[in-house]
């Protein structure tokens, strides 16, 4: 070590010629190219594809936003939450209340503020964030599965409120969601009538673009977050809370903040869900929705932003596709026919897929994609293998664990 110099005293980094040290790993030009192609295809899709696919697409975009948010909490930080459905509900209800009109529909006497839908969307995100903030002191003090159990209560509280606070939520039957509009441009079938290259751009086409923009923004924000200071802190506190705190990370503060961010993502996803279905009802925000979101991120890959998106695509689109092609898909029957209902069939498939993922590909669809990418580049493949310590072995599988602290007591 005689030829190396000791680290210079604290202060701004010196300008030293440092060949190759700071050089980032070799980047292929293929990846950005593929991204651009994918984006162009996504942008052009409404010109060629029928309404069913666009509506499915918007539902998927909404789920992507929610799954990315949950993955920040569960996959990246190792905090289990079963309350995602609750925060989706807060977002959705806030939107329909803030932007919906007052008035009576049938028995229910609904109240609404009738504010612009953009305000309603922002309110949905902020109020979900507020709900997350109120719960975050609990989230900050619990870890792993204990938080999961504690958060379960929120779903039941949510169900009760949704069913009983009729003037805001519409009660058991729910209430309809107002059309989205942006500075006078409605995301509906008309007003203004719109044709692009001779193709009528109606509600489905317009919502597709809205969803694309929101999902892309959610994706980029999360990815930037993970690649920088807060993301590193979150990942380290997943692997070892003691190490993170000793390195200067305020563990409780970060757990509270990631819970807040996650609930805001859920709030936006809730607003998008309301727009996608056109109405909100209590049954849309039950415990099984939380479970489906967990299925998305486990299938997609815990801790991976792209994985969350893939998982959301798989879990959201599959039942819809089964439903549409009930006559073609074996064993699946349409409503009122024999055979499995589409939703059930999809659920069996998720169950099977989750078992397969946990057994053979713990890093999920994202890990599968990464494996193929590596195969193309170098056959050896660098793969993290936790061979030396508990800290690394738990983190390579990315499974959140509530292992006790790492500090040794020797």
């Amino acid at each position: 070590m005689s030829e190396t110099t000791a680290p210079p005293a604290q202060g701004p980094a010196r300008n030293v010629d440092r060949p190759a040290v700071a050089a980032a790993p070799r980047r292929s030009w293929l990846r950005p190219l593929l991204l651009v192609v994918a984006l162009v295809v996504m942008l052009a899709l409404p010109l060629y594809v029928e309404e069913f696919w666009l509506r499915t697409g918007f539902a998927v975009f909404g789920a992507i936003v929610g799954a990315i948010g949950l993955n920040l909490l569960v996959g990246t930080t190792g905090q289990l939450s079963l309350a995602h459905a609750f925060f989706l509900a807060v977002g959705a209800i806030s939107y329909v209340f803030v932007s919906g009109e007052s008035g009576g529909i049938g028995l229910a006497d609904l109240s609404g503020l009738g504010w612009p839908p953009l305000i309603g969307m922002i309110a949905g995100v902020l109020l979900a964030g507020l709900a997350g903030l109120i719960f975050s002191p609990i989230a900050a003090r619990l870890r792993g599965i204990y938080l999961g159990v504690a958060s379960l209560g929120l779903v039941f509280i949510g169900q009760h409120v949704l069913n009983s606070w009729t003037s805001v939520t519409g009660g058991f039957n729910g209430r309809s969601a107002p059309e989205f509009s942006l500075f006078g441009f409605t995301f509906g079938n008309t007003d203004p009538d719109l044709f692009v290259l001779g193709v009528p751009f109606r509600e489905a086409e317009r919502l597709w673009y809205l969803g694309l923009v929101l999902a892309l923004a959610a994706y980029l924000f999360a990815r930037n977050l993970l690649r920088s200071r807060p993301g590193r802190a979150l990942q380290t506190l997943r692997d070892s809370e003691v190490a993170a705190s000793v390195m200067g990370v305020n563990v409780q503060g970060y757990k509270a903040r990631v819970f807040l961010v996650s609930s805001m993502y859920a709030g936006l996803a809730g607003v998008m869900y309301a727009l996608s279905i056109g109405s909100v009802a209590p049954e849309s925000f039950g415990l099984e929705v939380s479970i489906l979101y967990l299925a998305m991120i486990v299938l997609g890959g815990l801790g991976s932003v792209g994985g969350a998106a893939l998982g959301a695509l798989f879990v959201t689109a599959l039942p819809l596709i089964f439903q549409r092609y009930a006559d073609v898909v074996p064993l699946v029957g349409g409503p009122g026919e024999g055979g499995l209902a589409a939703g059930e069939a999809a659920r069996y498939l998720f169950g099977l897929a989750i078992i397969l993922v946990v057994l053979f590909q713990p890093s999920g669809l994202a890990g599968l994609a990464a494996r193929f990418r590596r195969k193309g580049r170098d056959p050896g493949g660098v793969r993290p293998t936790g061979h030396s310590s508990a800290a690394t072995s738990s983190s390579t599988s990315n499974v959140p664990s509530d292992r006790p602290a790492q500090g040794s007591t020797t």
Binding site: M1, T4, T5, A6, P7, P8, A9, Q10, P12, A13, V16, R18, A20, V21, A22, A24, P25, F221, A222, N224, L225, S228, R229, P230, G231, R232, A233, Q235, T236, D239, S240, V242, A243, S245, V246, M247, G248, V249, N250, V251, R257, G303, V382, R383, P384, T385, G386, S388, S389, A390, A391, T392, S395, T396, A405, Q406, G407, S408, T409, T410
Partner: protein
């Protein structure tokens, strides 16, 4: 404040001593540390030794705020370490390298080291998520310093490798590098050479000496490798069953009859060439006296 013998040529002027006074730690009925006192003089390398289960790592956990002392005080200048939370202690320049490697295996070496810059940087969720220019600039600036420190610990060519695939010796060096990345005034090294071979051990020893002399910081060392302790340390505190049984220069401690009786019981000699088979990761404390676990 007087510099102890062997202190760095230029100890940092703002460097206070670490004063551990009558510290006791209990876990239920078990007393892990009982009335332990010692002082780490500024700019010295201070070793804490003792058989397995003597309370060495417990002492470290008290110094870094992970455990709370039931009694006693730990002072670092004006700061009362025994009353602060771990991240606050890191904020005043106390860094620790873990015995059982506590790195994030999926993250690269650079990312693990950047965590050491956490308390020196500011980018929050919004600045990072939106990639605001100040967050990007900050990351870049600190990335350069991280690369320097990695180079110093011979990790320069592994910056972008996931820590999980590195060899054990490399991972131990990443631990030390991460602690250095916090720009510490007090560096706590918990068995930095445990499990390393002789070659790696001597390089690590050189690195520790260079860290002390170049940065002028204090180093507290828990170590099983007697040769390393005796050649590096300016002062040695010996613990046994949670009590301090000796405190002095390496020569004094080696000659202390109590140390020889309690610590070396079986008649082992403290010879510089000896390499104790240091505790493997995940090793559990056992109450057997003697250097070999």
């Amino acid at each position: 404040m007087t510099a102890a013998p062997g202190a760095a040529e230029r100890t940092r002027p703002d460097l206070p001593p670490v004063e551990v006074e009558h510290v006791s730690v209990r876990f239920g009925a078990i007393t892990a540390l009982s009335d332990v006192s010692f002082t780490v003089e500024p700019g010295t390398i201070h070793a804490i030794i003792g058989p397995n289960g003597a309370g060495k790592s417990t002492m470290f956990n008290v110094l870094s705020g992970v455990y709370k002392a039931a009694e006693g005080q730990v002072r670092f200048g004006d700061a009362r370490l025994d009353q602060m939370r771990p991240f606050q202690i890191a904020g005043i320049g106390v860094a620790r390298a873990f015995q059982n490697i506590a790195l994030s295996g999926t993250q690269s070496v650079a990312e693990n080291l950047m965590l050491g810059r956490h308390h020196l940087t500011k980018a929050g969720f919004i600045a990072a998520g939106l990639r605001l220019p100040r967050a990007t600039r900050e990351g870049k600036r600190h990335g350069e310093r991280v690369a320097e420190i990695a180079e110093f610990l011979e990790l320069g060519d592994k910056l972008h490798t996931p820590v999980g695939v590195l060899s054990y010796g490399d991972q131990k060096r990443v631990e030390v590098a991460r602690a250095l990345c916090t720009e510490p005034r007090l560096l706590l090294l918990d068995e930095p050479v445990a499990g390393m071979n002789a070659e790696e051990t001597s390089r690590m020893a050189e690195a520790i000496l260079e860290i002390r002399s170049a940065l002028g910081i204090s180093v507290v060392l828990v170590e099983h490798d007697m040769g390393m302790v005796m050649s590096l340390a300016d002062r040695v505190t010996v613990l046994d069953f949670g009590r301090r049984i000796a405190d002095g220069t390496p020569a004094e401690v080696q000659a202390d009859p109590e140390v020889i009786r309690a610590y070396l019981g079986s008649g082992d000699d403290i010879s510089p060439s000896e390499t104790a088979d240091a505790a493997a990761p995940g090793d559990h404390p056992s109450e057997t006296p003697g250097m070999h676990s």
